[in-house]
Amino acid sequence: MGFCADQLARLDKLWELMLRHPFLLETRDGTISDARFARWMQQDYLFVEAAVPFLTTLLHHAPPEHETPHREAIEALHEELDLFRERARTTGVELDVAEPAFICHAYIQFLLATAHARPYAEAYTVLYVAEKAYHESWRVVQAKIDPGSRWLPFVENWAGEAFASYVAYLEQELDRLASSASAEEQARMADLFELTVRYEIAFWELAMTGMEWPGLGESESVDPVTRGV
């Protein structure tokens, strides 16, 4: 098996948790509340905006054969942003008023710090996992969503064939990068693989619950922090 298949097998329980997340199942079944879907739209819009500098930084470090695919992916991100804006106009969701919630902020910092400060193969790992997670998550929704759903364009974007081909390409390239990586490098890539899955789940959780930070309890002290910066 290649690196990606090994990691997906190692993390299969976590991956399944992600695919069975209530946000996906309720969107699939048409029972998701407008408020929850709007929260996802607002936060994911901010995330996609940040994915542009992430990919631009990756492009800066890319081997020549990856330059064109990264450029095309950046163009695709701009099309995704257009899709968000179009759906927002149609459904009355306000995109420009939202501040990143804590998980969204943290995930964005993780993307950008990895792209800037870690070797290319490690940042590429994060890219692959984020895209693979989105493709498979939205395929879960695609399986049963009402064809008349106003959220269908999002589903078609990430569950569709074009995106499937992109994810397959990323998988092939990540396997190739991993095959020439040292054992230590592969271990770091595996850590980032797992962390990215955890962020993906946390992001669905954020959309569903509006949670600010996983595992954070109530303090006895006065909270001076207005989170969500």
Partner: protein, 228 residues
């Protein structure tokens, strides 16, 4: 475009903006526990382990600063502080491990909790894609904040537990105070002539790092884990 605010050093503005958060840090039960000496050692252990991981990344931020700065003098200073972080402060953490009865190997085996991860990624990202003023604004709440807390706690009688007394002595020391003052002056130098928009951006970074500092105490007080 509004004119820049004249006549006030940026470090003063930053301190005023973050003062409620800094005061809340002083009142945080974790910090109060160090001051009184009553802090459960199991909670302090969390701080040692997570702060050790934090310092590894904080050292990288100083390395970015040394690479980006504009003079040999400031480059030397960042290199010196990088060395202090890696070889003095982290060594003190290894000594804490021994004094609190856990193996130094645990420091190497520990993995980042969510707040540590987010805070260090924020710092490294800002160091990498920000300019020098942004980099210093983001790192300052840690360097200045610990010196501030150390100095404030040192005004009272030391705790009976010598391990916590030494923590206070360390961060109240002239070495830490001097580093804090140097960075404040550097912040002021880097922001001279900055537009009001730029000053607002620097304040945003400073306040966000201050929030992370407060949240770090929260993490050590409550414990933290990933949602799955």
């Amino acid at each position: 475009m509004a004119p820049p605010a004249h006549g006030r050093r940026l470090s003063e503005t930053l301190f005023e903006a973050a003062r409620p958060i800094w005061e809340a840090q002083l009142e945080h039960p974790f910090v109060r526990g160090i001051a009184s000496g009553d802090l459960d050692p199991a909670l302090f252990r969390r701080w040692v382990l997570q702060d050790y991981l934090y310092l590894k990344e904080f050292a990288r931020v100083f390395a970015w600063a040394a690479a980006k700065t504009d003079s040999l003098e400031t480059m030397s200073w960042y290199a010196m502080v990088l060395d202090l972080t890696l070889n003095t402060e982290m060594e003190l953490h290894r000594q804490y491990a021994a004094r609190f009865g856990f193996e130094p190997d645990e420091l190497e085996r520990e993995t980042m909790w969510p707040t540590t991860r987010a805070y260090t990624d924020f710092l490294v990202r800002t160091a990498a894609d920000g300019d020098m003023a942004e980099l210093v604004a983001a790192l300052l709440p840690c360097a200045w904040g610990y010196a501030y807390i150390g100095e404030r706690l040192a005004r009272a009688a030391p705790p009976a537990d010598q391990r916590y007394a030494d923590w206070i002595i360390q961060y109240a020391s002239e070495e830490f105070q001097e580093a804090s003052r140097w960075l404040q002056a550097e912040m002021d130098r880097l922001s001279m002539g900055a537009t009001s928009e730029k000053r607002a951006r620097l304040e945003e970074l400073f306040v966000l790092s201050s929030r992370y500092e407060w949240q770090f105490w929260e993490m050590c007080w409550h414990g933290e884990e990933w949602s799955v």
